[in-house]
Amino acid sequence: MSDTLSTISPHDLRGQRQVDALLMQEGIRRDGNLDYTCGLFNEDWKLIATGSCFGNTIRCLAVEREHQGEGLLNQVVSHLMEVQAQRGNTHLFLYTKPETVRFFRDLGFYEIARVENSLVFLENRRRGFSDYCAALKQTCREGASAAVVMNANPFTLGHLHLVESAAKAHEMVHLFILSEEAGPIPASVRRRLVLDGVAHLPNVVCHDSGPYIISGATFPSYFLKDEDTVIRAHAALDLEIFGKIAPCLNIRYRYVGEERSSRVTALYNQEMIRRLPSLGIQCRVIPRLEYGGQPVSASTVRSLIHDGHLQEIRPLVPKTTWDYFTSLEARPVIDAIRACEDVVHY
């Protein structure tokens, strides 16, 4: 045994080519976004096993067919978990094909959800997902409720319109705010602007989406560009998990804003319309609020701030959001938005 476990840098073209070949041979699609890749090489420096990380996930794992059953996967996963521990991540997520789930169960991973015949999503906490659901359940009240999931980047009158539509029609609305840090506006600010913006609606309860709804783990292509088929697969998984969260809160309706400009959100909406009914949830698409003939969107607000037209966001956002952006506290955030190259969601 003189196999060598080694990091494969993005610039190691020979190594990367071998990774591509091994993944293809084992029928695994390489993810577009990886931030760490390692490989196990044999004496002839031939790649016999590989694995990668992205954020708090482990992915793109493969073992060369002739070397399966030698425990190589365990070595690769051990190494990737150490890498993750150094980054400070101990709660990890992993995707795999349904036929290989058993290997990961033996490595201390537990199944959260699966999309039939294509992938299974696991985490390394036995009670990670059930604890999350139990915490949500404490806010549950009797009767059917509606759910809204939003990034609110930042909270606009469009978002408010969507929440108000749901709040008018249902006794209880559960509003999930994405927890993932993505882009120049910090999650804590996004969250606060939503809380302040819906404070006048007594039947709206806000939740952090955590790692289980549109996060870097369940839906990486929401945040980073990828192909349509990948977006659809991620959306399917995300909705599968949502289907498990919904019963905890008696969620029977999900409200979404109609989407015309963002490709990824439009695809996500399509998947929701297609998949939610089979999970016992009705999908209600609410037409966008318009101002001056244009749909009100957070992308527009960010673009206006980016281009230095802060005054022009005033008719597009609630007073609470406007007050924030005109406060001293928002200066660094505005500077960060202005420094971004691209502020429009793809």
Binding site: G71, N74, Q75, S78, M81, A85, T90, G108, R126
Partner: protein
């Protein structure tokens, strides 16, 4: 000993065990997965708890994925994870004291 930050020790390879330790509030919360659970589950659990007690760890979330490690290996992995979690792994290991 107080668990200050998450730490990990050991591997998932055969005859080893991977120990993850994180700060906790409600005593020792041990999650054990073992390839020899049916044969040695109870003894493995006892060995882990004993090692933690010896190090005076009373509040922690401990996750152990055991791959058939011997007791001495388990003990060493638990000790290593605990010392790493309080930043003591480079020096000040009480050899011959609580570690023996």
């Amino acid at each position: 000993m107080e668990i200050l930050k998450p730490a990990i020790a050991g591997t998932l390879e055969s005859s080893d065990a991977q120990v993850t330790i994180e700060p906790g509030k409600a005593g020792i919360e041990l999650t054990l997965t073992s390839s020899v659970m049916n044969q040695y589950g109870r003894q493995i659990r006892a060995t882990i708890l004993e090692a933690l007690e010896r190090l005076d760890v009373s509040n922690a979330r401990v996750t152990v994925v055991d791959k058939g490690a011997l007791d001495c290996t388990l003990k060493a992995r638990v000790e290593c994870a605990v010392f790493r979690s309080c930043g003591q792994s480079a020096a000040n290991i009480p050899w011959g004291g609580v570690v023996r």
